[in-house]
Amino acid sequence: MINSTVKSFLNVCVVLILIIVAAKLFLSSWVNYQIHKSPIEKVRAVQQEAANVIQNTLLMESGEHIHYDYLATSEKRTKIILDELDSPELMQFITAVEETLDVSSKIKSTFAVFQNSLFFFPKGIALIRNELVINKQMHDLISKVDDLERAVMQFTIATVNKKNTTELYAQIRQLKTDLLLLPEMHSKAITQLLKHTEVLISYSMQLQSLNTRLLSNKINTHAQTLIDSYHQNEEHEIQNAIQMKNYFYISLLALFLYLLGLWWKKHNSMVIKLQNSAEELEEARDVAESANKAKSEFLSNMSHELRTPMNAVIGYSEFLVDVAKMRGQEDMIPDLKKIRFAGGHLLNLINDVLDLSKIEADKIELSLESTSIDALLTDIKTTSAPLFEKNDNRFEHVAVNQLGEGFVDKTKVNQILLNLLSNAAKFTQEGTITLTSERITESETDYFVFKITDTGIGIEPEKLEDIFEPFTQADLSITRKFGGTGLGLSISRKYCELMNGELSAESKEGEGSTFTVKIPDKI
């Protein structure tokens, strides 16, 4: 019992483990496959937005009207995707993008100022030139302003090198000194122009370096590295996923096989059990059949082999009694009568044993017929009359009501009642034997109830049920004292039961017994 519990527990464990392994493998194969899809898309999206920002920044610098809002939206979108891409392997890429965005926003601010100064510069130059021309004082200054204008334009438009810058600064310094000679109102205009010139030079240089930084960004390099590694990873993951999936199928197969094995084992043991029990049943049937056959053979042998000689013994002993009387050999008669009595007793015994055997072998068949029970009782009374004379007993019949017709086995009822009456007569000395007959109705069925009451020796209460067992009498001495086979009561009870009736007894030792027969009016 414990063994089987442990076994089934182990089975459940194994099945559970297999299921968990299968589920884990399935999940890992699926999840790993999904993980690496989104970073690539995001890296690409960032790359595209950054390219957008760079392109628009450069377009803006080349004079296109690029909306800051438009650039700002691109920047914001990039930042939002970057925030989602927070992983150490992306650091270089993220730094490159963030620097690019920073440079682009600096270019915007720088270019705004540069543009304004660039716009103001010719106006400032024209203003100063105008005033110088009007005053006709500083002709050499005019040429210097011309030089400045040319230099600044070259500086801002053409590629700058360091020599140009130095020359330009020298010119501006020279102009500053010369300006001290001018009247106050003019010097204010000059100061303004020089400020714008300085802004143009410094902001233009800033823009140059910013542009260099913008264009030398490593976004694409880092992105390509990332994407390559992702692709490698992806392929690796896909391989892994396939492998995991294979393992998953294998584990599923294992689970299935295990379950199949369990089922097969259970199925097999059941088949074997069934086969075994079928064989046992067959054997039992064979045994029972052979036993029954032997019993049937024994019974038929008994009928022929025992009854025939007994009939001969009884017949010839009676014949011999007559012969002895005729020949006057009176002294032989008692011995012959003894043989006759013993023969009769033996025949009775044989008949009883045969009857009991037949009942036990279910060979008894009831011959049911419609019978007047009252008439049957009259016959029984007549037949039993000599029994009561033997021990000087008195017989009384109390008929509570008319019994009427019944659909019963007449012979069996006759046999039961005679048996009981003979028993009563046998165990009663100078007493009264009362037969009470009654027809009653119990739960829609009519019963005939016969009570045979005697005033005889009675039966001990603990032996009351034993007397219905074959070959049992209340006391072993009884057989010697009263004779009888000890089969009558058991046969009578069996007959009652055959007719769906019952035979019961109650008794008080020394005061007498009552046997009650209850038989339904029809079976």
């Binding site: 690409r44 595209q48 628009n56 909306h67 650039l71 926003s105 915007k108 100022v113 400020k195």
Partner: protein, 322 residues
């Protein structure tokens, strides 16, 4: 299967190499663009945000709400030089308007908040502004059955600091001011502004103001140094931490005195001007811009015209003029 995956990867590569077409650029004929109508997709959340925006319980002593310094009836500002926090504590900087704030590239004068979501928590926890903390705010709002109900409607996880911010942001994003006279002009109603106002706009462009003040918000999408042509802070004196601007965020010397270019929308209502609130009139602030940002000699007549133009930028909120 393997071949299929390889093909898939090849296709991915292909799409990768072809993802750099010439990106269409948005060009504009005018540097200023009209403001669109606000997008109201989630009225329940916006209503919750509106209530939270006006909710003094968000402050430490229950006296100050977002609307205390960003009143929707006075141009989205408090019209003070610097705002007053709890216990009448003066703030460090002039309150920028909440109107059209969602159009800004970053939030705060120094751009320390990436977006409104990041900004919304700032003043609540600033000891000299609303002087509270999330623990207290969550407790106070959590005790209010009406808020519990409203939060449950919009969020699966009820009242959290993120959800409070999200609701406020959802409301702030609706605080756009379309329908100004200048926008009407941009949209084709040539009579919406007068000849003088149009002349002011022409000057605004000619002086180079639109180099920085452009786009939907007429500003807000660029950082710029204050005092390019002349040193504003030397002239003003008394330099404080608030004057360092972007430097406070990046700690980068070149970012000193760099600020987010403020929006000029509804500028008529948001006096005093500049981050230090030092200009109380538009004439004064335009003059300062000419001196310190453009490096030119101010011309009174031009200033007058530009101010006339600036006043056409006042829009409407919920269909009513601000």
């Amino acid at each position: 299967m393997k071949q299929f995956i390889k093909l898939f990867i090849i296709l991915l590569n292909f799409s990768y190499f072809s993802c750099f077409p010439l990106i269409a650029s948005e060009t504009l004929n005018e540097p200023i663009v009209p403001i669109p109508e606000p997008d109201i997709t989630n009225p329940e959340l916006i209503e919750l945000g509106r209530q939270l925006f006006h909710e003094p319980k968000l402050s430490g002593d229950g006296t100050i709400s977002c609307a205390s310094c960003h009143s929707l009836t006075t141009g989205g500002v408090d019209q003070l030089v610097v705002s007053k926090g709890i216990d009448n504590q003066p703030g460090g900087i002039n309150a920028p308007t909440v109107f059209n704030s969602s159009l800004n590239i970053k939030q705060f004068w120094d751009g320390r908040a990436f977006d409104l979501m990041e900004q919304a928590g700032g003043p609540i926890q600033n000891p000299i502004e609303m002087g509270s903390n999330w623990q207290q705010v969550l407790k106070v709002l959590g005790n209010d059955p009406a808020y519990q109900k409203q939060f449950a409607k919009s969020f699966s996880d009820g009242i959290t600091s993120n959800n409070i911010k999200a609701a406020i942001v959802a409301f702030e994003e609706t605080l756009l001011t379309p329908g100004s006279r200048f926008d009407q002009y941009l949209l084709g109603s040539k009579d919406a502004i007068s000849g003088e106002e149009l002349a002011g706009y022409q000057l605004f462009k000619q002086y180079g103001c639109t180099s920085c003040h452009q786009g939907m918000a007429v500003g807000g999408n660029l950082f710029q140094k204050f005092g390019i042509m002349n040193d504003y802070f030397a002239d003003r004196g008394n330099i404080g931490e608030a004057d360092f601007g972007l430097f406070n965020v990046t700690k980068n010397e070149v970012d000193k005195y760099v600020f987010k270019v403020p929006t000029l929308r509804n500028i008529e209502l948001t006096q005093p001007y500049l981050h230090d609130g030092s200009s109380s009139t538009l004439d004064d602030v335009v003059e300062k811009m000419m001196v310190y940002q453009l490096g030119i000699t101010p011309v009174e007549k031009d200033i007058e015209l530009i101010v006339m133009f600036l006043k056409t930028l006042t829009g409407t909120y919920q269909g009513k003029p601000l």
